[in-house]
Amino acid sequence: MAEKVVLLDLWASMFGMRVRVALAEKGIKYEYREEDLKNKSDLLLQMNPVHKKIPVLIHNGKPICESLIIVQYIDEVWNDKSPLLPSDPYKRAQARFWADFVDKKVYDTGRKLWSTKGEEHETAKKELLEIFKTLEEELGEKPYFGGETFGFMDVAFVTFYSWFYAFETFGEFSMEAEHPKIIAWAKRCMQKESVAKTLPDQQKVYEFALGLRKRFLGE
């Protein structure tokens, strides 16, 4: 049967990028549809009535929502190449735990860097650096979070690399100085075509974030 795959997404979304990386890893052809989050399409509202958010993957007319759930779905359906989750159940649990950690911590804290000022901003910066420190410790000396090969946890976190320049500029710190292992890991991931072709230019993302900042802080 001809597979029809549609992705509803936003170019700058680190969550949407996760799905794009997974699709690229598996060599899946799909139709990309850019959403305007200020004017969500009927299709998006119909396919994700609960959260009304991107990304949404529509596979043969059926929607799958939540980026990490979509990535696992892609891994399970297109299981003939580039496995993203390891085969060992304990390693799978670790990959899921750390991807969940990224979800719970990195985005919410990171966004405070452009959406808050003063003391709240300072606290967010300190917290974010702590979070990156924890991730760096988890990475250790491994080439990838999953070990020898690029996998689920790498997909979950590498998309935030496109936002590093924005984090650094709003937070007034240098990732290279604070967390060189993470930068080395991200650059290693960027050698993969699926990652390099998906992640947008950090400067463009920064300009996008500036727009968000104006909306939040009215400046």
Binding site: P49, V50, H59, K62, I64, C65, E66, I69, I70, Q72, Y73, E76, V77, P89, Y90, R92, A93, Q94, R96, F97, D100, F101, T134
Partner: protein
């Protein structure tokens, strides 16, 4: 190899009860350790240094944290036993979505609705009602979210199946009424009657007592 399975939990926590339910469904014997969250044990802090929370499952010395991650791990390590997740990838994605929805949206809204104050609580009541309606419509007239049998979403929905009723009784906030939520109400009755589930729920009167004490301590 002799399997050693230990669960660190708290008797009142729906999250740690989820893990115990899954182990019982699979027929896996385990050792349970009750934690005092006001005075966490060195072992708990060692096994879950990142979040310092229960539940933690320790399997042959290897720790796993986060209840939904643990449920999947239990399902994958005991593939022959009672299925927690379905086999079909789309159904699995739906089950994961439902479970995450409960944790990310329902739990906070229900907690705020029942235990919050003033305007924030009123708003949360509205939100919780809307969220419960999603669950009502998803369940339809099925016996369980998992279909004929209990599945991951049913296990994750234990807060709606049991704890919500105790919150409502203690705080007087009414969220899940039979006329608004006939499917969910029927489901919750089936849920607490299920042999495996009911073994893993705290005794209702003790739960109510505990919540009343907590409420008056505020």
């Amino acid at each position: 190899m002799v399997e050693e399975v230990v669960v660190f939990g708290v008797w009142v926590s729906p999250y740690s009860r989820r893990v115990e339910t899954a182990l019982r469904l699979k027929g896996v014997p385990y050792k349970y350790i009750e934690e005092d969250l006001g005075n966490k044990s060195p072992l708990l802090l060692k096994y879950n240094p990142i979040h310092e929370k229960v539940p933690v499952l320790v399997h042959n010395g290897n720790p796993i944290a986060e209840s939904l991650v643990i449920l999947e791990y239990i399902d994958e390590t005991c593939p022959q036993g009672f299925p927690i997740l379905p086999k079909d990838p789309y159904e699995r994605a739906t089950a994961r979505f439902g479970s995450k929805f409960i944790d990310d949206k329902c739990m906070p809204a229900i907690t705020q609705a029942c235990w919050g104050e003033g305007e924030a609580s009123d708003k949360a009541v509205e939100e919780a009602t809307e969220l419960l309606m999603f669950m009502e419509n998803e369940l339809k007239e099925n016996r369980f979210f998992g279909g004929e049998r209990i599945g991951m979403v049913d296990i994750a929905a234990n807060i709606v199946g049991f704890w919500l009723g105790t919150f409502e009784q203690v705080t007087g906030v009414e969220l899940m009424t039979r006329d608004k939520f006939p499917n969910l109400t029927n489901w919750s009755i089936e849920f607490v009657r299920n042999n495996v589930i009911k073994e893993n729920l705290p005794p209702r009167e003790e739960m109510i007592s505990y919540l009343r004490k907590k409420r008056s301590a505020r």
